[in-house]
């Protein structure tokens, strides 16, 4: 098999240019989709019959929660590729993911708490999803703390990658244990809508927001990846040619 494409794909100059070229292709569609989704969700969609207008925070909460898990998976997959095929760019992708993932996990927690206030009368209830998000946030923090604690960049890459892979094996188990714990203690959960199936005018904006957030993540990832590659390759000669 010819592996040149693999090496070309993994070479920093190529990735730097490719990421730069891709950014607008994700950033603009993200902006448009999110704007349409917000209009649909905040204006066009009818109020929920039980929760009134309060439910509308779902248009930020659900996409953030989805992204947090998706980003952790992306990070762990990139880390795995970096570990197994010793691909430096994969480590750079994983490193770029961590901050974004932690941010969206935090957003989903905060919006979840804001949603909880009118529903439960309190900001925090040990709802299984909120609890699982909180643990996910700690997993992101652990990843970033380990990366920051090791001075040698190559060692930091591999150690944190291993942690991400161990983490992704654990995420479903943690999820299960938290659900199980909750089913015993019967904490109230209103973080779902009253009706079993969502009407189309509520659902379409939600799907648009999910798509928009995902596109936004890719756009931010390409920007952060460029910064990460610059930082890592600051002594390489190809950079001077690119920057001049």
């Amino acid at each position: 098999m010819d592996w040149t494409w693999f090496h070309k794909f993994g070479s920093p100059p190529h990735v730097y240019r490719l990421a730069g070229r891709l950014t607008p292709w994700f950033a603009w569609p993200a902006a448009i989709t999110i704007l349409i989704g917000l209009y649909g969700g905040l204006v066009l969609a009818p109020p929920d019959y039980q929760q009134g207008d309060g439910f509308r925070i779902i248009y930020v909460h659900a996409p953030s929660a989805w992204l947090s898990v998706m980003i952790y998976t992306t990070m762990a997959s990139a880390a795995f590729v970096g570990l197994v095929w010793r691909m430096k760019v994969a480590h750079a992708v994983a490193a770029s993911c961590a901050g974004i993932g932690a941010w969206f996990t935090a957003v989903s927690l905060v919006t979840g708490m804001l949603w909880g206030k009118p529903m439960w009368g309190t900001y925090w209830v040990w709802d299984p999803r909120l609890t699982a998000q909180l643990i996910l946030l700690f997993l992101f923090f652990g990843y970033m703390a380990l990366r920051a604690a090791i001075d040698d960049p190559s060692r930091a890459d591999r150690a944190s990658a291993l942690l991400a892979v161990v983490g992704i094996v654990n995420v479903p188990i943690i999820r299960f244990s938290v659900d199980w714990w909750n089913s015993i203690h019967q904490a109230p959960s209103v973080m779902k809508l009253g009706r079993p199936t969502m009407p189309v005018d509520m659902l379409v904006p939600l799907l648009l927001m999910l798509l928009g957030f995902t596109l936004y993540f890719v756009a931010v990832l390409t920007i952060r990846l460029r910064a990460e590659v610059l930082r890592r390759e600051r002594q390489a000669s190809w950079l001077r040619e690119v920057l001049d």
Partner: protein, 216 residues
Amino acid sequence: MYKDSNLAVSRWHVFRGERHVLRGLGFSLTAGRCLQLVGDNGSGKTTLLRSIAGLVPREEGELRWGDVPVDDFATLHAELAYLGHDPPLKADLSGRENVQFAVAVRGARSAATLTARVEAGLQRVGALGFCDRPVRTLSAGQRRRIAFAALRAFEVPLWLMDEPATHLDVVGCELLRQLIDEHLDAGGIVIAATHQDLGLAPHRLQRLALEEVRAS
């Protein structure tokens, strides 16, 4: 004993951090020869030894052991012994226990051969007088002798030694020379990073001078 051993290293590149520590290095050694690494501090002697042992990953390059390219260091590890700056000894165990466990961890065949090898090693380095005391109470030179005893008891062809003469007195240095000589007699290969004159016959000794790699 190890007549067929030979080691060849080529196009050897190693990065530490963002620095190119070794670039395009190569050498080859046949049975019964010793490579002495010399160079200033920071020239990469330790890194070279550790990368040959597979402790530090190489960026590029090929290592052939017995004419077979080594990709998976697990196979090479059974053939080599690495002795770093400080002897890897447990302060709370006696010298003898240290050697016993070090040999046993490498996969003991039978208790009898293990004991025989340990005793022979301890006797050869002249450690029988103090090897039953806790290592904590031994002097730096005595600890090094215990480490030599373990090295000898491993019975592996390739020795990688980082500054083996540190803390040794004149008698100790002579012992080191004899141990290396005997190992080479048996067909072993030694790579030692040291500025000490090893006193080996010229036909047995190769020298490799390392220089700090300048940023290009």
